[in-house]
Symmetry: C3
Subunit: 151 residues, 3 copies
Amino acid sequence: MADRVVSFDNPVFASYAAYAGLASMKMMGMTLVTVYHRITKNVFSNPEDTCFGAKEKSVVRLDHPDVERVRRLHLNDLENIPPFLVIGFLYVLTKPSSDVALWHYRAFLACRLLHTACYLAGLQPWRGIFFFSGLATTLSMAVQVVAKGSL
Amino acid sequence: MADRVVSFDNPVFASYAAYAGLASMKMMGMTLVTVYHRITKNVFSNPEDTCFGAKEKSVVRLDHPDVERVRRLHLNDLENIPPFLVIGFLYVLTKPSSDVALWHYRAFLACRLLHTACYLAGLQPWRGIFFFSGLATTLSMAVQVVAKGSL
Amino acid sequence: MADRVVSFDNPVFASYAAYAGLASMKMMGMTLVTVYHRITKNVFSNPEDTCFGAKEKSVVRLDHPDVERVRRLHLNDLENIPPFLVIGFLYVLTKPSSDVALWHYRAFLACRLLHTACYLAGLQPWRGIFFFSGLATTLSMAVQVVAKGSL
């Protein structure tokens, strides 16, 4: 069938899938940044985890600033990326123009990557600008999904 | 094709999409409530964020009761809304009756909105009742999805 | 249509749906473990919640080790299971061989269950091994999804 919507033959779906995959990988990658800081700073959240750090210097500590910054960033991803993954898919079903959809997906991923860079570097108000731009992209798609749905 | 399931032509899918969009917007809206409390109370989680608060009164503080209440509520959304979004979609594919499906979606969204109101107002045991009712709605759909799937 | 992909008639989709449902139920079940510890240990995160605990012994406390361990485990689920739910679905659309897909889903769920057991028992490095194996399973699917999509 030429007009199948949920298929890699549909350019809008193929774009969605690529950006959804990359956004998921970016979110899961935050774990590795946390692990890197835990091991290099020797701070862990469970007593049994101290086996991964330097002997005698590894401690259980829940307030190391570098680790907690990455964890807040990761939590911010959890608040924003899963809704994008689902709304982005439902948006494909509203049959948007291919270009408009592609730029929604690109804008979202670019905002999240720039938000991440600004969070790690401590740059405000840029972090806030990229955060709200990413949120606005998802909201724009969500409004169109709700408008086409039935309550 | 008249019987396409994943399409806004299918009333069950159209209902799911509308409630999924609203539930996502509700979850993302929690961010704005957090921002509102941070700015009006002048408490922030990163040193660079204090530029958004009143001069000389803005502090980095991770234990302000109003802010932390909203953040616990937001975390509770993250624990419940993403599974609903995915399970609700898979439930569409089990081809439930249109009415039964619609009431599952309505019950879930109503429970989450009432849970939010009760959390912000500090009302127990109502908050617990709406929490478990929302969880039961998702579980009811999940059981039907697993029963129709193959392990 | 014999070749419909997003349908319980497609064995890959039927497997995905079953494992996605089980993974969601496992994640939502963590709430019940938290509630169990809160009530048996009489520690709560909101003043109004103390009505559920033993009189005069119930306190608001955010650092009880048993409760916080379950909450860290739950957060780890939130970081890993929602991406699996979405990526696992997009992977179905790449039309993988039925066996390969089934083992991806089985491996992921098994890793998360073993990770949970090891977290509750405080077993390292086993918890780390199961954590990274689960992450690798999702990444393997995500790479195939991105490769088939278009940027």
